[in-house]
Every structure is written in structure tokens, then in C-alpha cells.
Amino acid sequence: MNAFLAVLWKDLLCEWRSRDRLVAMLVFSALVVVVFHFALPGGAGAQTRANAPGLLWVATVFAALLGLGRAFAIELENDALAGLALAPAERGWIFLGKWAANVVILAVVQAVTALVFAVVFEVDLLPVLWRFAGVAALGSAGLCAIGTLSAAVAVRTRFRELLLPLLVLPLLWPVLSGAVRGTAELLESGSLSFEPVQLLLVTDATYLILSFLTFEYVLDE
């Protein structure tokens, strides 16, 4: 548990000092939203509004992939990853610390992205703000669980920036399914059924537990 808090604090502190990951993710996701606006025929029409949840989550996933790569790249400098592996702690807690830091950083990016999105695509998030935040958090939890473990693996392979999306994207379907569905329901009808939330909870729990247990083997040399 000490290890979890220590890693979380360390990651957030490192990020706060340089803020490079955060800035890159913010700029990137804002760019993606704007590019979507250009790329879609008819701009902010009704058709686009129907696709809005999907587009929002695609932008989030792209930004997350960018940030996740960096999360472990900083551990390569000075072989800090070995420094983590030396700890006598249960290694799963180290994973959770990194996961939590990723979730926090992604949350900031998600908030700004949602804002940009609401403005550019004329979508009204205010009436459903808290429930939307809940769905966003659950989606981010699953995305970061898969992403953190995959990034830890990818960072010690060749072509790590290329491999990370290849590893993460095929596994994401249940998370995206639940998150997009939940967001869509909120935007269309203002209400949220239990199914998407249930899917997200089950998926998140499964991936978190599995990652916690297998991180032991990922930190070995």
C-alpha cells in the first residue's frame, strides 16, 4: 500500500514539474476534435451529434495512448524501472500507483476535451454533467488499466510507440462499448441505464485484478 501511494505521488510530482505529458495530451486531443470537425461532412449537424459520443471517446483514446507511452518512458531514464523492481513491495501496488496517476492526468485531459467538444459540436453537457463524469471516469479506469499494463510491456520492446496502440486497441472494445453507449444515452435521453455501467464495472474490475496479479512478471528483467 505504501508503494501505491509512493508511486502515485512520485508520478504526479514528476508530471507537475515538467507538465510535458499533460500539455502534449491536451493539445493533441483539442487538435483531434477540431480535425474531426473539418473531416466530417456537414460539421455540427444532427448526424454528427449522433456520432458525438464515439468521436469524443476516440479523441480520448488517442490522447491516452500518447500519455501512456510517456508514463513508462520516464522510467527508462537512469534505469528507474529497475529501481521500482528492487522494492520489496507487492508489485501489483506499483502498477496501481501508475494506473491511478494515469487516471488523474487523463481526467484533466478529458475535462478539457469535453469542453472543447461541447463547444465545437454544440452539445449540451450541463444537464448530465455528473453522470457524464461518472461514465468518463469508469471508461478512463478501464482504458488506463489496459494501457498501463501494455505500456509497461511495450516500453521494453522495439518500436514501443508503434506497439502500444496495437496492444491496447484490440482489448478496448468492452470499455469503449460501455463508455460510448453510456455517453450516448446521457446525451440523447438525459438518463443512464444500468447496462453500460455494469459492463464498465465488470470490465474494469477484471482488467485491474488481472493486471495487478501479472505485473509481478512484467517488472522482471
Binding site: L5, K10, L13, N78, A80, E221
Partner: protein, 234 residues
């Protein structure tokens, strides 16, 4: 007969079909100091990393104070000071040490970090980011990091490399101090002279095997030199 601090039996490590360690048997009694010498690629760093519990052996066993090295109890007893510093350049010296302390379950990491920094003569720069340090300074923080949890076994991988005379002398003093604290030391080095002065016994590794042991006799620098020359030969 106390439990040896370090005990390796038939230790092997393979990477693919490259053999890094081809069967190493080693016993290091608690409180003693061992130097590990040998040409590049002999397996010295691999041996150290196996002792530190960073990787599983391909065959054989390695134990720290009777516990499997690749386990949580053993890792709590070992401090590794490697080629790399394991430090985060964006964090200050103090923050790096506090983080390492928390990671190693040190109860009050803040004061401990301050004390270690004072011992390393770095109190003045405790709040500067490690990224701005010189090599010698970073090395001193790395050593403090390795010692933050007060480990009875300390492993050092070529700590003298790249240090100037003053830093090297300071490091030698530090090592002597560690020895007087009755810690078990394993020192990988190319420097035969320092090795002979600082340790009780020495081994020479070549191509993954031990080819020379001083075996409890006083270290004869000449014998060591000869063994190294033989090991270096193709």
C-alpha cells in the same frame, strides 16, 4: 554456523541461447566483503542483478540470508548501487530519497533522507533537481538511495567508473565506513588496487564461470592480476 549472507548454488542465467552465467557457486559470510572482477561480458553485472532479485535464475539457486533472492523478504535486505542511478531527474535529491524510502517501507523517510544527504555532504543541494547534478554528485545520491532502507547486504556495480580522484577517494572512504558497520559487501570493479585494499576476498569471472577465488587467503594483487590477464585472453 550462521546463515551465509549470500549463497549461490549452480547459478545459471541464459538470455536466449547466450549464456551469461554458466554455473556459479558462491558463499559470502555475513559482514565480509567480496570483490568480483573479470573482463567485460563475463557476467559480473548479471550476477549482481540476480543477487538483487531483479531476475529469476535460469537454473540453480541464489539466496540472501537463507531466502530466495527473487522474493520480497530478500529484496528488503539488499541495496543495489548499479551502473545507472535509478534517480528521477525532475525530482530533487531529497524527493528521490524519500520516494525510495517509501518504496522500501522505511518508517520515517524524510529525516532519514536528510541524514543520508548530510553524510554524503549534499545537504546544500538537497532541494535541487537531480538532473542538474554532476556525475559524482548523482553517484553520491545513488549510494544514499541504495542505503535508504539500511540493508545488511550492499551490492555495488563498478562504482568507481567515471569518478575523479577526489570522488573516488570519497567513495573508498564510504565503502570502508560501510564495512565497519558490519554490512556484507559485493563490489564489482575493474580496479584491482582498490579491490585488494577494500575487501576480504575476491573472485574472477570469465565467460560466466568463476575462474579464480582468493578463498579466504589474503588478497594477493599479483595473483589477481595474473588471473585477470588469463581471463582476458581469448
Amino acid at each position: 554456523m550462521s546463515v551465509p549472507a549470500i549463497a549461490a548454488r549452480g547459478l545459471e542465467k541464459r538470455f536466449g541461447w547466450a549464456v551469461a552465467l554458466a554455473g556459479v557457486d558462491l558463499v559470502v559470510p555475513p559482514g565480509s566483503a567480496l570483490a568480483v572482477l573479470g573482463p567485460n561480458g563475463a557476467g559480473k553485472s548479471t550476477l549482481l542483478r540476480l543477487l538483487a532479485g531483479l531476475a529469476r535464475p535460469s537454473a540453480g539457486s541464489v539466496e540472501i540470508a537463507g531466502r530466495r533472492a527473487h522474493g520480497r523478504e530478500a529484496r528488503a535486505k539488499v541495496g543495489l548501487i548499479g551502473h545507472e542511478t535509478f534517480l528521477y531527474p525532475a525530482l530533487t535529491a531529497r524527493e528521490n530519497l524519500v520516494f525510495a524510502g517509501r518504496l522500501h517501507d522505511v518508517p520515517d523517510p524524510g529525516p532519514r533522507a536528510d541524514r543520508l544527504l548530510a553524510e554524503a555532504d549534499l545537504s546544500g543541494v538537497a532541494d535541487r533537481p537531480v538532473g542538474s547534478f554532476s556525475r559524482g554528485m548523482a553517484q553520491r545520491v545513488a549510494i544514499a538511495r541504495g542505503l535508504v532502507h539500511d540493508p545488511p547486504v550492499v551490492l555495488l556495480d563498478e562504482p568507481f567508473t567515471g569518478l575523479d580522484r577526489r570522488s573516488a577517494a570519497r567513495l573508498a572512504e564510504r565503502l570502508a565506513a560501510l564495512r565497519s558497520e558490519r554490512r556484507t559487501l559485493v563490489l564489482v570493479t575493474h580496479d584491482v588496487a582498490s579491490a585488494a585494499r577494500l575487501v576480504d576476498s575476491a573472485i574472477v569471472l570469465a565467460r560466466g564461470r568463476i575462474v579464480y577465488r582468493s578463498d579466504g587467503r589474503a588478497i594477493d594483487a599479483l595473483c589477481l592480476d595474473r588471473a585477470l590477464a588469463a581471463a582476458d585472453a581469448p
